[in-house]
C-alpha cells in the first residue's frame, strides 16, 4: 500500500480531474475534456470511472463497485481490490453504507442520498456519435443546441420496430440544455437519474467527464405519440419476489427453463434477509 500515492493517481492528476468534475457539475450534461491517464487496466474496463473515483475518494470514504448491478463479477471485484490496495479505503457491498459507488451499466435499486456519489463508467460519451461521426460537427451541434438528429434515431427505431427499441444508453436532456448519453444503463433506470446523489460520468478512452448535480431535471427524449417507457422483464424476481426491480434472465437448462433474478445483487440479498421469498428461492437454497 505504501508504494502508491493515495488512490493510485498523483495529486496533480487528481487536481486536474477534480477541476473537470467541478466544471461538469457547473454545466450539467456538458462533456468536459480531461487528460485521461494510462491506468493499470484495459480500456473498456472502466478506466474513466476509476480515475473519477480516485479523484473523488477520501480516506474516510466507504467504496462500493457494481458491474451490471452485481458486486461479485470480475470487473467489480478487480476495481474494488484495486482501491483496497491503493487507497486502503473501506469497501462494502451494501448500497446504503457506501459513500462512493462506482457503477457499470446500472443504477442501484435502493434510493441514493445526498451523502453519496455515484460514478459511472462510460464507453462512448457522445450520444450523437453513431449518427454523426465528425467530432467537430457534434461539438457544434451541442454548442448550438441542434438536437434534431437525436430524434432521427428514435424515428428510425419506430419505423423499423414499431416502438422505440433503444433499451439502454437511452438519450436524455439534462436541465433543459445538453443531450447526454447516460452510459449504457437500461432505460428502466432513466427515471432514477433525477436523484439526491451527485452523479459523475467518466470516459477514459474518450477523455471526457460529465456530471449531473443532485435534483437536476433529466428528461428522456421521446415523441408525443410514442412516449418514453421505462421497461423491464414482466416478471417478479425468482429469488426475492421483488416486482419493482430490474431483472436478469438466466437460462437454466436446454429445455427452455429460465429464471429472472434481480440484477442488483445487494437489493436482492437484503430483501431475502428481510424474509421475502420468490418462486425458486427454496430450490436455490437446496
Amino acid at each position: 500500500m505504501n508504494e502508491y500515492n493515495f488512490a493510485y493517481l498523483d495529486e496533480q492528476t487528481k487536481r486536474m480531474i477534480r477541476r473537470a468534475i467541478l466544471k461538469g457539475l457547473a454545466v450539467p450534461g456538458y462533456q468536459v475534456p480531461f487528460a485521461s491517464r494510462e491506468m493499470p487496466m484495459p480500456y473498456g474496463w472502466g478506466t474513466g470511472g476509476v480515475q473519477v473515483s480516485a479523484a473523488t475518494l477520501t480516506p474516510e470514504d466507504t467504496f462500493k463497485v457494481i458491474d451490471q448491478g452485481a458486486d461479485d463479477t470480475t470487473n467489480a471485484v478487480s476495481i474494488r481490490k484495486f482501491f483496497e490496495n491503493t487507497a486502503g479505503v473501506k469497501t462494502t457491498e451494501e448500497t446504503d453504507k457506501a459513500t462512493v459507488i462506482q457503477t457499470r451499466h446500472r443504477i442501484p435499486e435502493a434510493k441514493l442520498t445526498e451523502d453519496q456519489i455515484l460514478v459511472y463508467q462510460v464507453p462512448i460519451p457522445e450520444p450523437l456519435r453513431f449518427l454523426e461521426p465528425r467530432e467537430t460537427e457534434t461539438r457544434k451541434m451541442h454548442s448550438l443546441e441542434e438536437y434534431g438528429l437525436m430524434h432521427v434515431k428514435l424515428y428510425e427505431d419506430i419505423s423499423q420496430h414499431g416502438a422505440i427499441s433503444t433499451s439502454y444508453a437511452y438519450p436524455v436532456k439534462v436541465s433543459g440544455r445538453y443531450v447526454m448519453d447516460p452510459s449504457p444503463i437500461p432505460k428502466f433506470d432513466n427515471p432514477k437519474l433525477e436523484m439526491d446523489a451527485i452523479q459523475l460520468f467518466g470516459a477514459g478512452r474518450e477523455q471526457r467527464i460529465y456530471a449531473v448535480p443532485p435534483y437536476t431535471k433529466v428528461v428522456s427524449l421521446d415523441f408525443e405519440d410514442y412516449p418514453f417507457e421505462a421497461t423491464k422483464a414482466d416478471h417478479p424476481c425468482d429469488l426475492c419476489g421483488a416486482e419493482d426491480s430490474y431483472l436478469d434472465e438466466v437460462i437454466m437448462d436446454d429445455t427452455g427453463n429460465r429464471m429472472f433474478v434481480c440484477s442488483d445483487t445487494d437489493y436482492c440479498r437484503s430483501r431475502r434477509a428481510a424474509g421475502h421469498v420468490g418462486r425458486l428461492a427454496e430450490e436455490d437454497a437446496a
Binding site: 434534431g148 438528429l149 419505423s159 410514442y226
Partner: protein
C-alpha cells in the same frame, strides 16, 4: 416588391487566386436565377458564399427574413444562420450522397429537418414524409428503405424532398441534374419546375447545362474566371448573347 435576396459585391479569394469577385444581384420572391459558366469559373464558390457554407472576403448577402426583415447573413450569428439553413433555405447538392444521410431511411431523411425545428409527433412526421415521397414520385412503400437502395435519380429526388419539406423560400441548387442520364434529367427538371411554380419558390441554380437554365431559370448570369460577364433574361441571353464567352458557350451546345 421587396427583393428576397440582395447580393452586394461578393468576393471570395483563395490566396492570390480569385474565386469570384464583384458579384451583385437582386433576387425577387418566386424568381429563379440561373448561374452558368465553365468549370472553375467560380459558380460553386459563389453559391457556397451565398448559402453560408463559405465565408466571403467582402460583400453582403442580405436575406429578407420572416421575423426581422432584411438581414446580412454574412455577419449574422452562426446559430441564426444555421437556423436559416434548415428552415427558409434549402441546399440541393450535386451528389445526393452529400446531402443525404445514407444510413437513415428515406422517411428519416425527410423527417430530419422537421425534427430539427421541433416537430415531436411521430405520426405527423411520417405522414409528411410519405406525402413528400409522393410529390417527388417515389412510392410510399419505399419510405423505410435506405437511400443506398435507391437509384441515382431517386436519391436526387429524395434529397429535394428532404430539403423542401419545411417549406423553404429560397433553394440553392448546385448542378441538380449533374451525373444523371438524360431521361431521368428530364423527369427531374419537370418535377423541379412543378415544385418551384407550385410553392412559389425562389431558387438559384448553378449549372453548366444550358438546357436546364432554359427550362427553369427566369434570369441568367454568365460567369467566367470569377467575374460576371453577362446578366439578363434567360431567353434574351441565350438567343442573343452579347459577350464573346456567352456566344462561345451557346454555340458549343451540341445539336441533335
Amino acid at each position: 416588391m421587396k427583393p428576397l435576396l440582395q447580393v452586394k459585391g461578393i468576393e471570395k479569394r483563395y490566396g492570390a487566386r480569385i474565386g469570384c469577385t464583384e458579384v451583385s444581384f437582386d433576387l425577387y420572391p418566386g424568381e429563379v436565377m440561373g448561374i452558368v459558366g465553365e468549370s472553375g469559373s467560380g459558380k460553386s464558390t459563389l453559391l457556397n458564399c451565398l448559402a453560408g457554407h463559405l465565408e466571403p472576403d467582402a460583400g453582403q448577402v442580405v436575406f429578407d427574413t420572416r421575423a426581422d426583415g432584411p438581414m446580412d447573413t454574412v455577419t449574422m450569428s452562426e446559430p441564426a444562420r444555421r437556423m436559416l439553413g434548415r428552415t427558409d433555405w434549402a441546399f440541393v447538392h450535386q451528389h445526393a450522397r452529400d446531402g443525404l444521410r445514407m444510413s437513415v431511411s428515406a422517411g428519416g431523411n425527410i423527417g430530419e429537418r422537421l425534427m430539427a425545428v421541433g416537430d415531436r409527433h411521430y405520426g405527423d412526421i411520417r405522414d409528411k414524409a410519405i406525402d413528400w415521397l409522393g410529390r417527388v414520385e417515389i412510392e410510399a412503400t419505399r419510405v423505410d428503405d435506405r437511400p443506398t437502395a435507391f437509384s441515382g435519380g431517386m436519391q436526387q429526388r429524395l434529397q429535394i424532398a428532404r430539403n423542401l419539406v419545411t417549406g423553404p423560400r429560397l433553394v440553392f441548387m448546385d448542378e441538380p441534374t449533374g451525373g444523371l442520364d438524360v431521361s431521368v434529367q428530364a423527369r427531374l427538371l419537370d418535377l423541379l419546375r412543378g415544385l418551384v411554380r407550385e410553392m412559389g419558390l425562389s431558387a438559384i441554380i448553378v449549372t453548366h447545362d444550358l438546357a436546364v437554365v432554359r427550362l427553369l431559370a427566369d434570369r441568367l448570369m454568365v460567369m467566367k474566371s470569377g467575374h460576371v460577364v453577362e446578366v439578363g433574361l434567360t431567353d434574351q441571353v441565350l438567343d442573343d448573347p452579347q459577350h464573346a464567352y456567352t456566344q462561345l458557350l451557346v454555340s458549343s451546345v451540341l445539336q441533335v
